[in-house]
Amino acid sequence: MNAVWLIARNTYREATRDRVLLGMTIAGVVAMLGTQILQPLALGQGDRLTVDLGLTIISMLGLLAVLMVGTSLVAKEIERRTIFNLLSRPLPRPLYLVGKWAGLSAALWTVSGLLGLALCALLTVKGLGARTPAVLEAVYLAGLELSVVTAIAVMCSALSTPVLSALYTLGFYCVGQWSGDLRQFATGAPGALGTLLRVIADLVPNLPVFNMRTLAAGGFTTAPLHLGLASGYAVLYIGCVLALAAAAFESRDFK
């Protein structure tokens, strides 16, 4: 576990010293303040708009960070050969991947946490402090979603180039967001197509599980069971994806 901690700490350091995440955090805060301009257009739903757009900003900026940083996380190390200095030490390759995932996830949790706190502060200033618990739950689920997408990005990055990894990760994210619709569509599709769609829907992450933006916008919290199940699902899915990535990464030669 010491090796995972060292790689994670180094990856966290890399991500936070990169200006991309800092820029995104600042852009997120500015965008949240910017939502206030739209208040007159909200037809009396200004408070709901503030929460909904605020949480959307957190999710979208997180996704952008995964696509910009996460998808090149391992590929860049291979390309720049910095990986030689790590894997020539007594470091098992699977632990290296877990460390990379943990480091970037921690950095994304930090960004999501900071933006979540900024949103709570904004709501408190607007006299909507009562919605803070719902917002914090929604931010927690958004963090879980980003950790799942980061695991996919690390897997793609370990096996492909940064550009292709970004495309694959975005593909997983989009299909994952519509996995419920896909499953429903599969029930009406004929024979083999239905089976194929069902398999795809089962393989991609069920991302709607992590979305409680609408609920939080109305000021409602979710059941502790939902939070527990979503956490368990995220841990299981991340474990499977990283295990798959480690199996493929184990036999890879580094040129």
Binding site: N10, R13, E14, F84, S88, R89, P90, S251, D253
Partner: protein, 344 residues
């Protein structure tokens, strides 16, 4: 000037141990029937990196690993350091199978043209390197500081690596390889790209490690350095180990030439009995006769005197490692590495 490749005078090698036999405890690096081939996923064409390589580096010795570009040096080193997986055969580091990460606990490795995290400072990088090699946090911090100073980078330990010059990065790479004081040091082209001062520093570090009892294996194209530092030399050509011997053994096999420096230009015709072994080289103010067979020195000297040639100096000439290497490579048809399409 070339030296003909002489067949090795050493007796037939001992029988190869089976792949399943335990590793030789006297060896720090051991490979048995090691193969590496690469398959192009599009053309399905197979390129061989190394073939049937049996290599043994004894504990405590310094071994130079030589070969032209594409001979398989870097491939061998990458298999030993866990960056490539062998296609067939076995390899051990200090008695541990190279497939097991713990075999690299006592390994220090400097890759060819090392790259670093440019967002870290020198001290942070060495701490990370030390901790990944098993040092505790406190010890890694102390060693990082010590080694940064040892390689001449201690004045500004917080300087970010993107501000380092190439020579500084090479020295940092060496410090990272040595920070945990390993028993085995593998260096891939450690002198490449360094100025004469940098090369001298690397040579001194290698010699210092030898004094400590560290086993050192390094590849290099700078043969005078290899000649100066190594106990033994391994020559790999076309993926196969061509020769492995001490520098002295290699030299003994090469024969010795005698050079006669004579005043003025000598137009005397070479005698037929010496024509096969004696050559003449005219220079502006002198003539140099080179005798390929040292046993006929007196005969050649007598002939020169009989021709009233003023002999200024008689100098025995030993072939350099570079000449031996070139002769061996040319003998195997790898004189022009650019033509060799192998990947290394």
């Amino acid at each position: 000037m070339t030296v003909s490749a002489m067949p090795s005078p050493t007796p037939a090698p001992p029988a190869r141990p089976s792949l399943d036999a335990p590793p030789d405890p006297a060896l720090a690096v051991e490979t048995r029937a090691l193969w590496k081939s690469y398959r192009n996923p599009w053309t399905m064409r197979v390129t061989r990196g190394i073939e049937d390589l049996d290599l043994g580096v004894r504990r405590g010795e310094v071994v130079g690993y030589l070969g032209p570009n594409g001979a398989g040096k870097t491939t061998t080193i990458k298999i030993l350091t866990g960056l490539h997986k062998a296609t067939r055969g076995r390899a051990w580091l200090l008695g541990g199978r190279v497939e097991e990460p713990r075999s690299r606990r006592q390994l220090g490795f400097l890759p060819e043209q090392p790259y670093f995290y440019d967002y870290l400072s020198g001290i942070e990088y060495l701490e990370l390197a030390g901790r990944l090699s098993g040092l505790g946090a406190h010890e890694a911090g102390g060693r990082a500081k010590q080694w940064l100073g040892r390689v001449g980078l201690g004045q500004d330990p917080r300087r970010i690596l993107r501000k380092y010059s190439k020579g500084m990065l090479q020295r940092l790479g060496l410090a990272a390889a040595l920070v945990h004081e390993p028993e085995l040091l593998i260096l891939d082209e450690p002198m490449s790209g360094l100025d004469p001062f940098g090369r001298r520093d690397v040579r001194e570090l290698i010699l210092e490690q030898r004094e400590r009892g560290t086993t050192v294996m390094f590849s290099s194209h700078i043969l005078p350095d290899v000649e100066m530092l190594c106990d033994r030399v391994a020559i790999v050509l076309k993926g196969r180990l061509e020769r492995m011997a001490t520098v002295g053994e290699l030299m003994r096999g090469s024969g010795q030439r005698i050079e006669f420096r004579c005043a003025g230009r000598s137009l005397a015709a070479l005698p037929t009995e010496l024509a096969a072994v004696l050559t003449r080289n005219e220079r502006p103010d002198e003539t140099v006769f080179t005798l390929a067979d040292a046993t006929r020195q007196q005969e050649a000297l007598a002939w020169l005197v009989s021709q009233h040639v003023e002999v200024l100096a008689v100098t025995p000439q030993r072939a350099s490692l570079e000449q031996l290497f070139m002769a061996t490579a040319e003998g195997r048809g790898t004189g022009d590495p650019e033509r060799d399409a192998r990947s290394a």
